[in-house]
């Protein structure tokens, strides 16, 4: 699997200045990589876009979102991609950085989002990091093998 990220980085890095976020959204941004925005914004331009359409942070660079907006609505960009432009893209999953988005797309891993994002609430999610330990009243009552089995490496 090391080969695939390398291949993806080589191809997409050269064409789109890909940053290997591992959760590619190029199809929805008019083939403009949002990770090249200095603020890595995934959902449109910030309020600092200059009057000439250039970047607040790098005045020599055109705002990637003014480009993305134009390109996604361009006649050559198919409507089934263009219509995704105004969707709210979820927060970046930083665990995927450096992995191949091609593999993550194929496995569906890039569409796994935190439950809270999709509106799910855990009713009985335990609060303590090691919930089992919170229920032990008398540590001396533990059986002989407990500490070995539960050792924190």
């Amino acid at each position: 699997m090391r080969l695939l990220p390398l291949l993806e980085d080589t191809v997409k890095g050269a064409v789109w200045d890909c940053r290997m976020c591992g959760q590619c959204v190029l199809h929805s941004t008019g083939w403009t990589c949002p990770m090249t925005c200095p603020k890595t914004l995934r959902n449109g331009p910030c309020g600092g876009v200059r009057e000439d359409g250039h970047c607040e942070v790098k005045p020599e660079m055109r705002c990637i979102w003014t480009k993305a907006e134009k390109r996604s609505h361009h006649a050559l960009n198919p409507g089934f991609w263009g219509k995704h432009f105004a969707e709210l893209r979820p927060p970046v999953d930083n665990q995927l950085h450096g992995t191949a988005s091609w593999a993550n797309l194929f496995s569906g891993r890039d569409h796994e989002h935190p439950d809270g994002w999709t509106g799910l609430t855990h009713d009985d999610e335990p609060v303590a990091p090691w919930p089992g330990l919170g229920e032990i009243d008398d540590v001396m009552a533990l059986d002989d093998g407990f500490h070995v089995r539960n050792a924190i490496a």
């Binding site: 995934r42 600092g48 000439d52 942070v57 855990h122």
Partner: protein
Amino acid sequence: MSTFRELVETRSRPLVTAEFPAIDGGDLGTIQAKLDPILPYVDAINATDNPAAHAHASNTAIAIALKTLGADPIMQVVCRDKNRLAQQADVVGAALFGVTNVCALTGDDVTAGDEPQARRVFDLDGPQLIKVIDGLREGRYLSGRKLDPPPDLFVGAVENPFAPPQHYRVERARIKSDAGARFLQLQIGYEPDRLEDFVRGCVENGVAARTALIPSICLTKSAKALDFMHDKVPGIVIPEPLRARVKSAADVPEESYQVALELARHALTVPGVAGIHVTDFRHDGSLARLVTDLGLRGASAAA
């Protein structure tokens, strides 16, 4: 319910919000002294979050202090300095003290400030942050873990109607409204026609009805201040004739005030505008004068 929230929901009269000055030291007395001249004229006060990427007393601390001193704070949260864990913790923590109005911003870049060497975070972006905070309101962290009881949050955001791509700003307001923003405080602007276009678009797509649009008015007293904003603040454009008018005036501070008054008067006549937000760089009582000249009465003054 706070007056601010009630006004956003009922639109029974134009509301007034203002920016609280940045605080760099002192105690609650310091806050009180800065609050006294503002409080009677506004419905809510923004506690900023390291404005223009300069470190100051924190958004959370100032918001809690304002609440303690009887004001209705709007706690701004930017994406530049903290990741999603810290942002959620700040909002949930401040809510324990009754700070319930929260305003989500992307935030200026670190290079706009006096510590450009800092690491920029932007773990979430502005629209994502709105949705995450709205999730807290519904009783869950981003992870899905339950908050019990859920904080009674009132979520808002900002938008810049004046920056390119302008036609897209209306759509962006829609995205933010859909993500959970019940009010949008708009960037300072000096082009009334652009404001009208934006607000008209938001009326047409239904955003203005469910999300209060609050244009910002900036109180300045010198031609230099206008030049500075025009030259140095990305996203703010001040037309040359307007700057020339202030520059050549016999009484520059008075002319500066008149410009702000005209912009505020205009903003309040645009159908779909819910009130104004005032950024005061004068600190000479002009905020009180503006609110009075506009015939608006802040919550405390009306009480």
